[in-house]
Symmetry: none
Subunit: 459 residues, 2 copies
């Protein structure tokens, strides 16, 4: 690409001027599709600005789709239709534009690390799968046997769960599995115990079937089981290995108490084991289902550990429920992509999956440490950090006289998107607001920038 020459004007931030200039170049075709851009460092040096400034400009261009980052390879221009920039009538867009400040750092919890995705191995296997005859047919209603066998081996080895391949059902998301489960459970189980705060998506699935809720309060110190014996429900939905959102793990005593309770009342525990692989201070804890497979419905998925867009989840059902489930759903096609199932089975078989998990555990651990250290450094005793030992996000309890709403708005006006936690709460509100910061999709530089901006925003 030709030399980039800028004359900065006064009155507008430099990153914004860089962003606007690049946008114009791309729209006018001066920089062509797939052309590589200067690195953040190169551009900073040639324009004599800080790297932070060029990073902010590029981030904006990435967010709007003009360019893409390809990990260590650098930044490249995306394809664009030049025609669209003359007339503005094209199909209507649903997205709302809410805030005017561009998002510089998005502490989202619903994306994963792109730079270390095993692109090569996945492509190689996916491409091979497309040449197999079995890829051109309808699949098994309950999921492909090859994937179920790989999952059985993985669950035993990694999560301590002894499951027959036959007892595993493959679906496309945890919510979808919960809705399906609801169909076979709702008559015998009109109410369910949920953690408070807890995963709102699960509550939505139970609410879909009009189940009533009883709540199990969860604090930073752990869940409070003292009322369990008095509850009416015989069904409980829990996240024992990494409580969502508080991040605590159940001790072996709590696990046993829960299993004991379920046995006593002949009920079931739904264990959502959504991201247990990412534990940083110790090895991942064995699943609750490893203690008692007869009373635990085990749910897992590939959204956090691999890729949300793959839409693959699975559950292990105790025998009586398995029979009921198969009876109810045997006439229905699987909702999970056959191609993705076959590719994942091969990916696991070839050892790529366990390599991926190990690699990502390290990468996410470093990001978590970076974020936690940065926050502690900037905010000192004005915040406390919850759940830094595992998962793809941490919680920040803010010890200042601000509301959750104010903290989010204020961050937004500085270009930082952070997540609320009040939506997870049923009754058990914290006195101080708690903000959720997801880091999985951010680089170390972005995390650092985000923390600095938050410091400014909240001071």
């Amino acid at each position: 690409m030709k030399n980039i020459i800028f004359t900065f004007k006064d009155g507008s931030p430099k990153y914004k001027q860089i962003y606007e200039q690049f946008k114009l170049f791309i729209e006018q075709g001066d920089i062509r599709t797939d052309e590589q851009l200067p690195t953040i460092r190169q551009l900073a040096e040639s324009l004599q600005v800080s790297r932070n400034t060029t990073l902010m400009a590029y981030d904006q261009l990435v967010a709007e789709g003009y360019i893409r980052g390809e990990g260590r390879k650098g930044y490249f221009v995306n394809e664009l239709e030049p025609a669209l920039f003359q007339q503005g009538t094209a199909p209507r867009n649903e997205q709302q534009t809410e805030s005017t400040t561009p998002v510089l750092v998005n502490f989202r919890a619903d994306a994963i690390d792109q730079a270390h995705f095993p692109l090569k191995a996945w492509r190689r296997i996916a491409n091979r799968i497309l040449t197999l005859q079995e890829s051109f047919q309808y699949g098994d209603p309950f999921g492909e046997v090859c994937l179920r066998e790989q999952l059985a081996a993985y669950l035993f080895q990694s999560r301590g769960v002894k499951a027959n391949a036959e007892a595993i059902i493959i679906g496309s998301s945890t919510q979808q599995m919960l809705i399906h489960l609801g169909h076979i459970l709702k008559e015998d189980f009109p109410s369910v115990i949920v953690e408070d705060p807890g995963y709102d998506g699960a509550r939505e699935a139970f609410q879909f079937h009009r189940l009533h809720f009883e709540t199990l309060p969860v604090y930073e110190t752990g869940a409070d089981f003292s009322q369990l014996g008095q509850m009416q429900s015989r069904l409980a939905y829990v996240t024992p290995s990494h409580q969502s959102p508080i991040g605590v793990s159940m001790s072996i005593q709590q696990r046993q108490m829960l299993v004991h309770w379920a046995n006593e009342i002949q009920g079931y525990i739904i264990e959502d084991d959504y991201d247990s692989e990412f534990r940083y201070t110790q090895r991942p804890f064995p699943a609750l289902a490893s203690i008692d497979a007869q009373r635990v419905i085990y749910l897992g998925n590939f959204s956090k550990c691999f890729l949300p867009g793959i839409r693959l989840s699975y559950m292990v059902l105790p025998q009586p429920l398995l029979n009921r489930y198969k009876d109810r759903f045997r006439h229905f096609e699987s909702t999970a992509s056959l191609l993705n199932q076959l590719t994942m089975a091969k990916f696991m078989e070839e050892g790529e999956w366990s390599r991926h998990i190990k690699r990502m555990r390290l990468i996410y651990r470093r990001k978590m440490q970076h974020l936690a250290a940065g926050l502690k450094n900037e905010f000192k005793e004005n915040i406390s950090i919850i759940g830094e030992q595992s998962g793809l996000y941490l919680l920040v309890k803010v010890h200042m006289e601000h509301s959750e709403e104010w903290l989010i708005k204020q961050a937004s006006s500085y270009g930082v998107k952070v997540c609320p936690t009040s939506l997870y709460v049923v009754n058990n509100y914290s006195v101080r607001p708690i903000i959720k910061l997801g880091f999985s999709s951010l680089s170390h530089e972005e995390i650092q920038l985000g923390v600095q901006l938050l410091k400014k925003a909240w001071s």
Copy 2:
């Protein structure tokens, strides 16, 4: 406590082996509650490992709650219920072996042509999609906007349906869409009119919601609408462009009559347009939804026209139902693979989709002609062929004194797999048995061999 003796195995970290051994001791009651464990130093010396190794093992046990550290006093075992730990059995393998005669030719209707799949274009686009940032996030609950926009353009151009991208919902299969529809329709529509014979998978979805059935008889000459005015239902499920399984198409008069009926009673028609692109004698008929978008729920999918394993389907909803649908399902993640959605959107945008459809129409037409000619040649007036003008299968009505069961068994003993049609029937049985022959996945040679074997089998 008794002496701890270890034999370390290869292949697993030593700290993990220590952790597992202690866990077992505790679970089996070999080390009792409140018993003191060796110190980190003692254990390290007696096992000849580093103190770091024993520390890591103890840390893990502490984190999971098996033991506790009491400062300088050392480590002690926590209370636990030994009864709960059972030994499991190793994962078992499923799979049954059924028939002894190997299948030489499978006239299956649930597979597609593999030889002419646009492997190169699809791979190219799928590989590119994996580099986009948006592929590493969760998608829109109702499907990606880019794919909905492509579908809107396609539906207008090819099926005459004027749909806003916003009114299109993307899912993973027709059955899944019907089950979702059932959730928003069942209260107002306790019964549904279905074609007889008709697609069993749709009946299963309605039965799932305990809807009652009224039947619309379908013959080789078309559907019989004479009883429509007397029916109680205000909801009808039909396949107007290519009736499943009979293969007839509704005339414009029948289509208008149906739309008129729905308007009169303020009901809805569910139009399943599953394979309408493959019409060989004329151009594909415009969809029923092109006549009246207010009373028709349009369903389409990519299983027949592209690849069943991609698990992508879509529907166009009239406004009142759209509102109800979005209200009911807005909290739930999409079940359709984001990767497949984005790839398909690009595939359509680049014109690959319309090229694919044109190419496959030609290829399937040749196969259909080959199969029909072969059958006529071998069987003469002993059979009649139904539905050779469209679709990926044809029906053979056998004018001989044989049952459907006998025809299938006999074919099987000659290595030919053919499909029954009785499972599509509610009441409207044909006097003569009708056999379904799918040809999409077979080569011309396989089709010829299959016909010859059938001739031997049925003579």
